[in-house]
């Protein structure tokens, strides 16, 4: 089942850079879809369209549709706040809010108006367990989040999105600053999470893409060059450009 359908999406920023050129693709639910390719390919831009974070930047032109569960989320009448709770995002560098660990986790619920302590505590425990962080921090939830290590902070950011019980999780190079062990933990969490969530991941290396992808899309300079199911795109790509990138001839 397709959770998200992108139809003819074109995006142009105010400074003229064309970021996405007529992209059409499906994103399957309960799977990890990987968007990979060299820098400037439009992968982050696509992610930020899906949770309407691009509303914050100066966009000159945005055409096309993105259907989430059949509804076009690019429609101006969309409830963007509700969308952002449904579609969580983890950024490249862990950005912890200047709050405690617990404060970070319940922030999204608090802005929704949730005040019941039971609900908040339940969300804290659930999300930390889903991000495989519960064992490490459950005894110091009131410590400032900034005191955690880089890897822990990033898993906290993942938990923070999970606390809102989203349906889709977008991850933009989530492990780019992390050591291999932390990276492994995050990738393992994603494998667990995909059973219940739709995951779209921009990896920071082709190897990570190959490790994690259920579906993979190769982006080059705003164009969707190739899309495949499974790992075939990494072993037997159909397009020459894909093959050149995957084998390391450029990038």
């Amino acid at each position: 089942m397709n959770k998200i359908v992108v139809e003819n999406l074109t995006l142009q920023y105010s400074d003229g850079a064309e970021s996405l050129r007529n992209i059409s693709m499906d994103i399957r639910e309960q799977a990890i879809t990987v968007l990979f390719g060299p820098a400037g390919g439009g992968k982050s831009s696509l992610l930020r369209c899906i949770n309407r974070l691009n509303d914050l930047t100066s966009v000159r032109a945005l055409r096309g549709r993105i259907l989430l569960d059949g509804e076009n989320i690019l429609d101006p009448k969309t409830d963007v706040i509700a969308l952002r709770r449904k579609v969580g995002m983890v950024f490249a560098r862990p950005v912890t809010l200047p709050l405690s660990i617990r404060g970070n986790l319940i922030y999204g619920l608090q802005v929704m108006g949730e005040k019941r302590k039971s609900k908040l505590d339940e969300a804290v425990e659930r999300s930390l367990k889903q991000a495989a962080l519960w064992d490490e921090v459950n005894d110091r939830l009131d410590d400032p989040a900034i005191a955690l290590s880089g890897g822990q902070q990033q898993r906290l950011c993942l938990a923070r999105s999970l606390a809102l019980e989203p349906e889709v999780i977008l991850l933009d190079e989530p492990t780019s600053g992390l050591d291999p062990i932390s990276t492994g933990k995050v990738e393992a969490s994603l494998q667990e999470l995909k059973k219940n969530y739709t995951i779209v991941l921009v990896p920071h290396s082709v190897q990570q893409a190959a490790r994690t992808a259920d579906f993979a899309a190769f982006f080059l300079q705003g164009e969707l060059v190739e899309y495949s199911e499974g790992k075939e795109i990494f072993t037997t790509p159909k397009e020459k450009r894909t093959e050149d990138y995957v084998t390391g001839r450029f990038g």
Partner: protein, 285 residues
């Protein structure tokens, strides 16, 4: 060889000249403070700080002036802080970089440059006469508030802008609205910087004489002001009056008054500096 000697000599002389000029600029400042401390120190006593002036100000204390300055500072804060911080929030968080915003910034620069006596005239024309508030704490506070607005707006805006953009992005991505983001995260993190700016602005307002000359200051009042519509004595005006209008004014009282005024102003400066450095230490970013 000779060339090098010449250049080195020039440098020595040049540095010497600059250093001398800098010292000539800075040493008098220390001298001034020490002098006032020495001359005015003996006048400071509990009676001085808590009693009314007698005998045409030549004896007694300066309590009404101290209280008056306190009221004026409070009044100024009441108007300028909410307005100034809100304007800063607008400029930092909402305003796009267009013509209208440039106009606002230009207006702020202008407000900052208007001579204090012109503010006094404006206060007289608008608050005292047109709005019929009369010579009162209200008129004077409103006048001082508009004068203090530019300082509060620019320091607050700087404090807000210093908060990392990533906080805003994360907050929005978690489903918060812009105002929620401001209230819960941005404002809290910018607060120390804002407080510092507010204190510095109020410190300046507390020391001003010209704006309150025609809008609120009184030569002598036998009682402390009872309402915002009363006129009031104030430290800077009091100092002005006793040093220019009262014949045979004892020097010690004059210096004592100057000392209290300086202490008030510098005390606020000290508080602002302490707030600033403690906040910097506690920052989580």
């Amino acid at each position: 060889m000779k060339l090098t000697l010449n250049r080195n000599l020039t440098q020595r002389l040049g540095f010497g000249l600059i250093t001398t000029m800098a010292l000539l600029t800075v040493l008098p400042i220390i001298g001034v403070v020490i002098y006032i401390l020495a001359q005015g120190g003996p006048a400071i006593s509990w009676e001085f700080l808590s009693a009314f002036p007698h005998d045409g100000m030549r004896q007694g204390g300066i309590l009404p002036a101290i209280v008056g300055t306190f009221y004026l500072t409070l009044g100024t804060a009441a108007f300028s802080v909410p307005l100034g911080v809100a304007a800063a929030i607008y400029l930092s968080e909402y305003a796009a970089e267009n013509m209208a915003t440039r106009l606002i910034r230009l207006a702020i620069i202008n407000l900052a440059g208007i001579p204090s006596v012109v503010y006094g005239l404006f206060g007289l024309g608008l608050f005292v006469l047109f709005l019929k508030f009369g010579t009162s704490i209200l008129s004077a506070s409103l006048t001082l508030s508009i004068m203090t607005l530019p300082v509060i707006i620019s320091t607050s805006e700087e404090a807000l802008r210093a908060v990392p953009e990533s906080f805003r992005t994360v907050s929005i991505s978690l489903g918060a609205t812009r105002w929620q983001t401001i209230r819960r995260i941005i404002l809290r993190e910018a607060l120390p910087g804002i407080i510092t700016g507010v204190i510095l602005g109020l410190e300046r307002a507390a020391g001003e004489t010209a704006p309150i000359l025609f809008t609120g200051a009184a030569f002598f009042l036998p009682r402390l002001p009872g309402s915002p519509l009363d006129a009031t004595m104030a430290l800077p005006y009091h100092l002005f009056v006793i040093s220019t209008q009262v014949p045979e004014m004892p020097f010690q009282i004059q210096y004592g008054t100057a000392l209290v005024l300086i202490a008030f102003v510098l005390g606020m400066n000290l508080i602002a500096t302490v707030v600033r450095s403690r906040a910097r230490a506690k920052r989580q970013w």
